[in-house]
């Protein structure tokens, strides 16, 4: 007797990996940095993550419905959640709730779905959302807290929730009293006012290399990034050239004029450089496809970041640098195609 079978395409193996597994691993790699953030700057980050991820998933569901896409399939890929988490890590922990709303609106609706949804976006959605709110709401976006160890007033979860949702600080506190310039910002203002970097570094917001607290978040980002490298979710090319170019250019500017330029390691451990190097510039969708392309991409992000920090109008430039290089990625890909076997 002959027996019939269902057919199916090769390879005849259980799935090796899935998109959701990739996204979940990236989110998992961010957990140490998130914990460090909460440790140094209070529970605000957790609220922001919940807000941003919630809005992201909401907008994602809305767009999927409008675009008649498979809802459970794409909501289950966790890409919108990841966008929300990355966005939340970039904004001040006490930013009002509508910052996340506006950011996610631009990130998910415009940068992602209007470009064709998962896999088709030209720009990194989290960075688009971040840049939009950074440019549109500069005041809300600069209300950074000092690390809790040097903060005169510490806020508990209730205070944080009230602040985020009402926009009002708890009674007896003023924004001036609780916020503090970030290390990159204080370098910028002190250099602008003609003081030396060494003087600026006297401020308690500085740590060993970067900012107090910030450098630990950066460390945990790097550790998470190394784990992603080991898991082969990302390749070494972008982080190496991005950090390398910042170190090299930072060294040159520092050697030329140590008075008004921070030391190269200060650059690496400040701002969004390490999270950018491991989690944002390595975004495969908006980055380069070939390894040579990735080297150039990372180099470009590093150089532009440093140029913006040194000569531009913003204390940190990672987001702008990533978006600018996103634009260049298709062109870079075109000229860095690997040699085909036998050609």
């Amino acid at each position: 007797m002959s027996r019939s079978f269902e057919t199916g395409g090769a390879p005849h193996f259980p799935p090796h990996s899935t998109v959701s597994r990739v996204m979940l691993q990236v989110i998992a790699a961010l957990v140490p940095a998130i914990a460090a953030h909460a440790w140094f700057f209070g529970p605000g980050i957790l609220v922001q993550i919940a807000l941003a991820a919630g809005f992201a998933v909401g907008f994602e569901a809305l767009m999927l419905k409008i675009r008649k896409q498979a809802m459970h399939l794409f909501l289950g890929d966790f890409s919108a959640v990841l966008t929300g988490v990355l966005f939340a890590l970039c904004i001040p922990p006490l930013a009002p709730w509508w910052i996340a709303l506006v950011g996610m609106l631009f990130a998910i609706v415009i940068a992602k779905h209007l470009y064709g949804g998962l896999g088709h976006n030209l720009f990194n959605p989290a960075m688009v959302g971040y840049v939009v709110v950074l440019i549109s709401f500069p005041q809300a976006m600069t209300a950074w807290l000092p690390p809790s160890s040097i903060a005169p007033n510490s806020l508990d979860l209730g205070d944080v929730l009230i602040t985020i949702f009402s926009g009002q600080l708890p009674a007896g506190l003023t924004w001036d009293a609780i916020t503090e310039a970030t290390p990159l910002d204080s370098i910028r203002t002190s250099v602008a006012s003609g003081r030396m970097i060494s003087e600026a570094r006297q401020s308690p917001v500085f740590g060993d290399f970067g900012g107090l607290g910030w450098e630990w978040i950066a460390n945990w980002c790097a550790l998470g990034g190394l784990w992603l490298l080991w898991r082969r979710i990302i390749t070494w090319h972008v982080p190496v050239t991005m950090i390398g170019s910042v170190l090299a250019l930072g060294l040159i500017t520092w050697l030329v004029d140590p008075g008004s330029n921070p030391a190269p390691l200060q650059h690496v451990f400040s701002g969004a450089l390490l999270i950018g190097a491991f989690f944002i510039a390595t975004d495969p969708v908006s980055g380069c496809a070939s390894n040579r392309g990735r080297l150039i991409f990372g180099l470009g992000v590093g150089v532009i970041t440093l140029v913006i920090r040194r000569w531009g109008g913003y204390p940190d430039g990672v987001a702008f640098a990533v978006l600018l290089m996103n634009m260049a990625a298709p062109l870079i890909d075109r000229y860095t195609r690997p040699r085909i076997f036998g050609q």
């Binding site: 007797m1 002959s2 027996r3 019939s4 079978f5 269902e6 057919t7 199916g8 395409g9 090769a10 390879p11 005849h12 193996f13 259980p14 799935p15 090796h16 990996s17 899935t18 998109v19 597994r21 990739v22 498979a70 399939l73 794409f74 890929d77 890409s79 949804g117 998962l118 896999g119 088709h120 082969r232 979710i233 390749t235 495969p284 969708v285 980055g287 496809a289 070939s290 890909d333 195609r337 690997p338 040699r339 085909i340 076997f341 036998g342 050609q343």
Partner: protein, 517 residues
């Protein structure tokens, strides 16, 4: 060919190189290697497809009702890289009918249906025990008429390949014994059990193509095989046969990858190993050659691995071409509970069959039966997230994600530039793709489209050339005629003698006219 490339190719196997990408997969070979190869008893019916090779279907040479002997030619089409098929046993041809032929398309094809008489009686065999006295041309002729095709799965006619190779000039014969796809162990078992036959085949092939050296490549985990083959080389007294162990990385058994590993050289895109003076043959093909030349027996049987969690007793069988697959499964104790997929070939490049009534064909190195847990559930495809894993594992150094874009958008010039035709369809990209895009399926489709476009272009080009040739020809004829008239006129004008005669004639005519009037 560059001189240094040639000299490097001559050092094949002296040191080993790496190829880009590939996968380290779990071997799963042990389960089918525990028992010796078993010979399958006679079946009640044989279905011998007329298409078991690249190129065109063979033309039947027998008719329904005809009695045939084992080894008799059933069909042949010996042009355009096609080949012949032979009778697996003696009996009667009951029909030439359409039947599933174990083709990736799932299509039916013409088969010679044989009812065995149970005698299994050979036709008169043209044995050449003293093959060493035979000329290379004779050897090539015997190989060419014995229905031998590449048994590694490519089923390219060996006779054709050998003929081409001898014309191009070959210095080294490479015998491919690295199966590299998981589960498949038929070549390993063959090398263990019939090392003498393989070495004999190697020597015959070497002589047929005029090579002075043979390199047999086996996987590094095949310790027993190495000893067996070394022993066989020593016993044969032949010189110039080296056995080389290569690391087991899929798809190292691919011809181009194996050559890269052995020589460090890449077969030029669109070229063949003969461009480097190399000829690559599967070890099973070598035994088929030995049997054809020394015993005069055409290719009518092969070793088939029957394995997977879906069969009760996995093992290797010596099966007649044309035997229904269900017979092989029965020989292995039947299906285990939970068998859901029947595959011809390995898990990476094999294709699922819809029924076990399909016959064993020359390409059938493995019958793999898998259970639910071994395969991927049918799932929707996600969009490409450009993670680049496919490019990392691609042994042809392609960017499968870009190819995917261009093929699906019908950008055929882009697809060609991105090296679509260099894809070896190994399936590594499919394996790692987190979005589960059936990349190789798209690439196969793209290749056939490119071929079609090429044909259309060729036809259009030929028509254009014909038209232009006609136009120039007509133009030329016109010019020639014009020139001839001109020349005639000029000749008349120049020829004073004639001119005078004409003038005289005119004069005469005038005077006559004058007289008349």
């Amino acid at each position: 060919m560059q001189r240094d490339a040639l000299s490097q190719a001559q050092l094949a196997g002296e040191r080993l190189y790496h190829f880009h990408g590939g996968l380290r997969l779990r071997h799963n070979k042990k389960i089918s290697c525990e028992t010796p190869v078993e010979k399958l008893p006679l079946a009640t019916r044989y279905f011998v497809p007329l298409l078991q090779h690249t190129g065109r279907e063979a033309e039947p040479l027998v008719a329904a009702g005809q009695k045939i002997l084992k080894g008799e030619q059933l069909g042949c089409f010996r042009h355009l890289g096609s080949d012949c098929v032979h009778a697996p046993t003696s009996g009667t041809v009951t029909a030439i009918a359409n039947h599933p032929i174990s083709h990736p398309s799932g299509a039916e094809g013409r088969c010679i249906v044989i009812k065995p008489d149970g005698l299994d009686e050979w036709q008169t065999l043209d044995a050449n025990e003293d093959w060493e006295q035979a000329s290379p041309a004779t050897l090539r002729e015997i190989i060419g008429r014995s229905g031998i095709v590449g048994l590694g799965g490519a089923v390219f006619p060996t006779g054709y390949k050998v003929r081409q190779a001898s014309e191009r000039g070959i210095h080294t014969l490479i015998l491919n014994g690295s199966e590299c796809e998981p589960y498949i162990s038929c070549d390993e078992m063959l090398m263990r059990e019939q090392p003498d036959s393989i070495i004999l085949g190697a020597r015959i092939l070497q002589k047929a193509v005029g090579a002075n050296r043979t390199v047999i490549a086996i996987e590094d985990q095949m310790g027993v095989v190495y000893t067996a083959l070394s022993e066989a080389v020593k016993n044969s007294g032949a010189s110039g046969i080296d056995i080389v162990k290569v690391t087991t990385i899929y798809p190292e058994g691919g011809e181009k990858q194996l050559i890269k590993v052995l020589t460090g050289l890449e077969v030029p895109s669109g070229g063949r190993p003969t461009d480097l003076g190399l000829l690559c043959q599967n070890v099973a093909t070598a035994t088929a050659v030995a049997r054809a030349v020394v015993e005069g027996k055409p290719l009518i049987e092969r070793t088939v691995t029957v394995t997977g969690n879906g069969v009760r007793k996995p093992r290797n069988l010596l099966a007649q071409i044309g035997t229904p697959i269900s017979n092989l499964i029965d020989q292995c104790g039947g299906y285990a509970p939970g068998a859901v997929r029947l595959i011809l070939g390995g898990p990476m490049m094999g294709y699922a069959l819809s029924s076990d009534s399909n016959p064993v064909i020359k390409a059938a190195n493995c019958i793999l039966v898998l259970t639910e847990d071994d395969i991927r559930p049918p799932q929707p495809e996600m969009p490409c997230i450009r993670c680049g894993e496919c490019a990392r594992v691609c042994p042809a150094l392609l960017l499968p994600q870009s190819l995917n874009w261009s093929v699906r958008s019908g950008l055929w010039d882009d697809a060609r530039d991105f090296g679509l035709s260099d894809c070896i369809e190994c399936g590594c990209c499919d394996f790692v793709c987190p979005s589960h895009i059936p990349l190789v399926d798209w690439f196969r489709f793209g290749k056939s489209e490119l071929k079609l476009l090429g044909l259309e272009r060729d036809t259009a080009e030929a028509a254009r050339q014909r038209f232009e040739a006609r136009e120039t020809r007509l133009e030329r004829l016109k010019q020639e005629r014009k020139q001839r008239i001109e020349e005639k006129k000029r000749a008349l004008r120049n020829d004073s003698e004639k001119q005078k005669k004409i003038a005289a004639a005119i004069e005469r005519a005038r005077s006559r006219q004058g007289k008349d009037s």
